[in-house]
Symmetry: C2
Subunit: 352 residues, 2 copies
């Protein structure tokens, strides 16, 4: 959770007026950028009752404080974490001005590097990487890698210039060369609330969380992963239960509609994802049941800490329940080694 004045006090003077700010709007705290509300923060209704799980979560201290965060991780039995932004998550990819966008991202990246990269190797924050201006994104990716970032975050969707556009090739090449995995977090690059009215919360969850299915199809079938065999990509907080079907559906389309398929690939689309891709999940019995289709190298567990719907502080129980019966080697892959290898976490010896 960034300080609310990160951009109002940190942006260059000529960009500050339209940069991100948090202020009341129609009586509700709102995040604005370029004078547009991009996120509302209504107070969570206390009417939800005393059993509301959020009560317990107010104990979490680590949102912005590295020491508190490490204590929270220890409490939960978690060694390392990949950290995503909060305000920057909701505003960066909405910004239209290329200059304001990249400066907004840089300011976040600098703050999180100073706050978390400097504090402990157990933190691997991702650099926010807007890609409207691809040359600027490549430059920021190089800077971020030198600054110690072990991952970068692109919008999951780029509807105005989708990820099969060859224009992104310099970016894929840079990530490959630097060994920095590119992550695509559910709910970025498109509205998170396409549905309104009855059932909206459930509909929006399904639509948003399933969004990276499409990103997988773009990256696998367009040849991006074939042309950049060392590029690693991660779909984040999207669940894992749809992955087996998407891998099957891509291959089915590739074979059955071969007359229309361009480019022809050396492998099937699914094979590129199994080789270079992963998805993250919290609680997903369906994804775990489908390991025979996906393999255990494509799944990584995450707690979604510090969100109330996450598994903190019960991650061990949640994991024990859902992983019961799986081989130890599979469990090690999913909760430890896939992430440790990808994001270069150094584990304490006794965990190795």
């Amino acid at each position: 959770m960034e300080p609310v004045d990160l951009w109002t006090s940190g942006l260059p003077a000529q960009l500050r007026a339209h940069g991100p700010r948090v202020e009341p709007h129609d009586g509700v705290e709102c995040l604005l950028v370029e004078d547009t509300v991009v996120r509302r923060f209504p107070p969570v209704a206390k009417a939800a009752g005393p059993a509301d799980a959020a009560d317990e979560k107010t104990l979490m201290r680590g949102a912005s404080d590295p020491a508190g965060r490490l204590r929270d991780l220890d409490t939960d039995g978690v060694w390392g974490e990949v950290i995503y932004p909060n305000l920057a998550f909701f505003c960066c990819f909405h910004i239209r001005s290329p200059e304001l966008q990249i400066e907004t991202a840089r300011l976040y990246n600098e703050w999180v590097a100073e706050q978390f990269i400097a504090a402990s190797e157990r933190f691997a924050p991702v650099a926010v990487l807007p890609v409207n201006d691809i040359a600027a994104a490549v430059k920021e990716l190089w800077r971020a890698a030198r600054r110690g970032f072990r991952g970068a975050m692109l919008p999951a969707h780029m509807d105005l210039r989708p990820y099969n556009d060859p224009a992104y090739d310099p970016l894929w090449a840079a990530a490959e060369e630097l060994g920095v995995p590119l992550t695509f977090h559910a709910g970025t690059g498109r509205t998170q609330t396409p549905a309104h009215g009855p059932g909206g919360a459930v509909i929006n969850y399904v639509v948003t969380v399933a969004g990276p299915m499409e990103t997988v199809a773009y990256l696998c079938s367009s040849g991006v992963l074939e042309r950049h065999p060392k590029l690693r990509v991660v779909m984040v907080e999207c669940g894992s239960g749809w992955l087996a079907w998407v891998l099957h559906a891509m291959d089915d389309a590739y074979r059955e509609h071969h007359v229309f398929v361009r480019p022809k690939l050396a492998l099937l689309p699914s094979e590129y994802f199994r080789r270079q891709g992963a998805v993250t999940f919290q609680r997903d019995p369906v994804g775990l049941a489908n390991l025979p289709f996906t393999g255990d190298r494509s799944l990584m567990w995450g707690s979604d800490y510090p969100h109330p719907e996450g598994t903190w502080p019960h991650s061990q129980e949640v994991l024990a329940r859902q992983l019961e019966g799986l081989p130890e080697s599979t469990i090690d892959r999913i909760v430890t080694w896939n992430a440790a290898e990808l994001y270069r976490f150094r584990l304490p010896t006794d965990a190795a």
Copy 2:
């Protein structure tokens, strides 16, 4: 496959000028409606080579001819089929004029009733049911049921008035009262080609085929299926491998985001689908592996006859391969009884 002059010769004179027509456009045969191209029919490239599976399929005789179609079904060991339109599929839901839209649908419905309902009980064509004008849709549904239709087809997506809008209640009530299942075919109500360029064919397949995931979320979480407990809904040609995850994701959202969930439901969202919903698939090992999550009453097999990517004339082999190892009772549900009960097929005694 409707006669190409169905609407140019059949529509009332005052509607005919803007009704559906097939004519060359920029050198390619096209389907136009309201003077807009809604579908291009480029000749399938012969360059695809002699191994092109389409060659074998040219033997199929049944596209418009009931007798030929019955022979094709017999060849394939299939007793009955639910028939979807071809030209009407691609044009009806695009029409903006409510009067032209419902007349276009009625004309198709009349043609398919005369051609197929009259010919054999083994054919259960669905009535095309545009829902821009809900009162007109209710009227057409009543007419169709009296005319012998055992199913009706709505667009899978209604982005301008989604299916959680209470305005649809008279339509849900009519379908429930008439005992006519409502079907939502992948690829209707939205473009089938959102992606262009490299990988487009694969991306568009995944996005289009996964579209009904969203429809499931709308119908289950908004209370439609709760308020209409005898309403039956079917997602068509969408595969089945995503269903287990969607059922899980809806319930997860319902529980974890309960503060934001409206309406509260008596059951979990997934339970309504298990009770009232189904999906159809051709080849889907993932969906079959996930039967423990979905139950065997939510899956129905279909051949996609007469499409080249369908399983005709090898349906028995395709089924034997993918159903191997499943209990007989499950197989009976998926290939016979779910569809037979829902669409009221009377099976020959020796198949019962």
